[in-house]
């Protein structure tokens, strides 16, 4: 049941993203300062396993992010939302584990993030703009964790808080190159048992906290 849900949810989200991407630009043309962007990015140390257990010496997981963003500008204010899908580029390894009660060996986490930021634009002549905002993000994750020789599926969700700092560089009248730094602080509740017997409770949580760097192109429908 959990496996089916973990497969269906990302597919549904991907389908929703595709619908939004193709439908919003046409309706956005009626509004003045609405941009639709596509970006790639990276998130290093997904899961923060050394923070989860200080007895772990880890090879951190690095994920690639593909996403779509929507930015609405209203005078000096902006609202920035979107969808980010993070795929593992390299899985996480626990190289040394000095905690025999929690025998985690490997992990691989994929997640979808739905951020929403509100902030202020700082235009720089006609070159582009800096912007700085704060907000929330909701995460849905699936993945696998190997512990004690067995591999189990994991799924979790979390709501987090953070900020975005970015800059846009004007390429043409309607397109801009953008680079963003996002930091979100978010952790799920305990969702999986990795404790050695006799403990049977769920103890492992997914930590989505981290810095994300994004690079993309935004089209402004004027």
């Amino acid at each position: 049941m959990r496996n089916n849900r973990s497969r269906v949810v990302p597919r549904l989200l991907t389908a929703c993203c595709a619908i939004v991407v193709f439908l919003v630009p046409s309706s956005a043309r009626a509004q003045q300062y609405l941009g639709v962007g596509f970006h790639v990015g990276a998130h290093h140390d997904v899961g923060n396993m050394s923070s989860y257990n200080s007895g772990f010496e880890i090879e951190p997981q690095t994920s690639c992010i593909l996403g779509v963003s929507f930015k609405a500008n209203l005078d000096f204010l902006f609202l920035r939302t979107g969808v980010d899908i993070a795929f593992p580029l390299t899985g996480g390894d626990v190289l040394e584990n000095s905690d025999p009660t929690d025998p985690v060996e490997k992990y691989s986490i994929s997640y979808t993030g739905l951020p929403l930021f509100l902030g202020i634009n700082f235009p720089v002549f006609d070159i582009g703009e800096f912007y700085l905002g704060g907000g929330i993000a909701y995460f849905l994750a699936t993945g696998t964790v190997t512990h004690g020789g067995t591999e189990d599926d994991i799924s979790a969700s979390a709501l987090g808080f953070g900020f975005i700092a970015g800059m846009q560089l004007r390429l043409t009248a309607a397109t801009r190159l953008y680079m963003e730094w996002e930091y979100i602080d978010a952790r799920s509740g305990a969702t999986m048992n990795t404790s050695a017997a006799p403990a049977t409770w769920d103890n492992l949580y997914i930590d989505f906290t981290g810095h994300r760097i994004l690079l993309g192109i935004m089209y402004y429908a004027m």
């Binding site: 923070s51 989860y52 257990n53 200080s54 000096f76 902030g119 202020i120 634009n121 700082f122 235009p123 720089v124 002549f125 800096f130 700085l132 905002g133 704060g134 987090g160 808080f161 953070g162 900020f163 700092a165 930091y183 979100i184 602080d185 952790r187 799920s188 509740g189 305990a190 969702t191 006799p198 403990a199 049977t200 409770w201 769920d202 103890n203 949580y205 930590d207 906290t209």
Partner: protein, 253 residues
């Protein structure tokens, strides 16, 4: 001799005024108010009592769940902050900034989890947990400000803050008893700060700022004396702080 001392004092005063007169003449000042939020106020809020129930990373690791037990996730604290900001900009590019902020938790920090009682074998029991914290801080930073025409000014500065924190926790097992911790203390965390001003006109700007604090108090002893437990913890000021607000600018020239 008193006469010489007076002459030295007057001369020193004149020198200070002469040196300061240049920058002050070329200075602009602003007074602003900001409000914002602090994710993970107090970090993981770890204390030594957590280790007695097998938890070594504070609020993060305390969460456990098991079928048949009614648990709820205990999240890190989200702080809401408000404060005032005084800024002096010299020769258009050099910034000195003094702030005063009050931050308190508004979300997270309470829920029910499980712990393994000292009885033999695996004997989980429900544990109600509550965490709260507030911080009063005054960051003093200096740095550079880059104006873009008269519309925008972006500043980067660094320095340190005086920060006073008050942190409380309570771990209450279902079987009774209430282990509490109460800690107070101050520290001087390092501060990095990026701030932008968007000028609505020559006198008023809208601001957004992002600050990173790094530092904590030394290890503080629990101030509760009646719960039979002596706890130890640091009050951690490390973390990001995002704020938005408005400033009123006063020009000396």
């Amino acid at each position: 001799m008193p006469c010489n001392k007076a002459i030295i004092m007057r001369t020193a005063l004149l020198v200070i005024l002469a040196v300061a007169a240049g920058p002050l003449h070329a200075a602009s000042f602003s007074l602003g108010a900001q409000a914002g939020f602090v994710p993970s106020l107090g970090g993981n809020l770890h204390s030594s009592t957590h280790e007695t129930i097998g938890v070594y990373n504070g609020i993060d690791g305390i969460n456990k769940s098991l079928d048949g037990y009614d648990t709820s996730t205990i999240n890190r604290l989200l702080g809401a902050s408000g404060g005032i900001v005084l800024k002096a900009t010299f020769y258009d590019y050099f910034l000195v900034r003094l702030g005063g902020n009050f931050t308190m938790d508004v979300r997270g920090g309470s829920g029910t989890t499980l712990y393994d009682t000292p009885a033999p074998g695996f004997t989980p029991e429900l544990l109600d947990c509550t965490y709260s914290m507030y911080v009063i801080d005054a960051p003093l930073t200096a740095g550079l400000a880059v104006p873009f025409w008269k519309d925008v000014r972006i500043a980067f500065s660094c320095g340190a803050a005086f920060a006073y924190g008050n942190y409380k926790n309570s771990l209450r097992p279902e079987s009774g008893g209430d282990v509490k911790g109460k800690f107070r203390g101050y520290g001087f965390p390092l501060v990095l700060l990026v701030e932008g001003d968007y000028f609505l006109n020559a006198k008023v700007s809208i601001t957004a700022s992002l600050a990173y604090y790094r530092g904590s108090t030394d290890i503080r002893k629990d101030r509760y004396r009646t719960d039979g437990d002596t706890d130890f913890a640091r009050i951690d000021f490390t973390g990001y702080r995002f704020s938005m607000g408005a400033s009123r600018h006063f020009y000396s020239r």
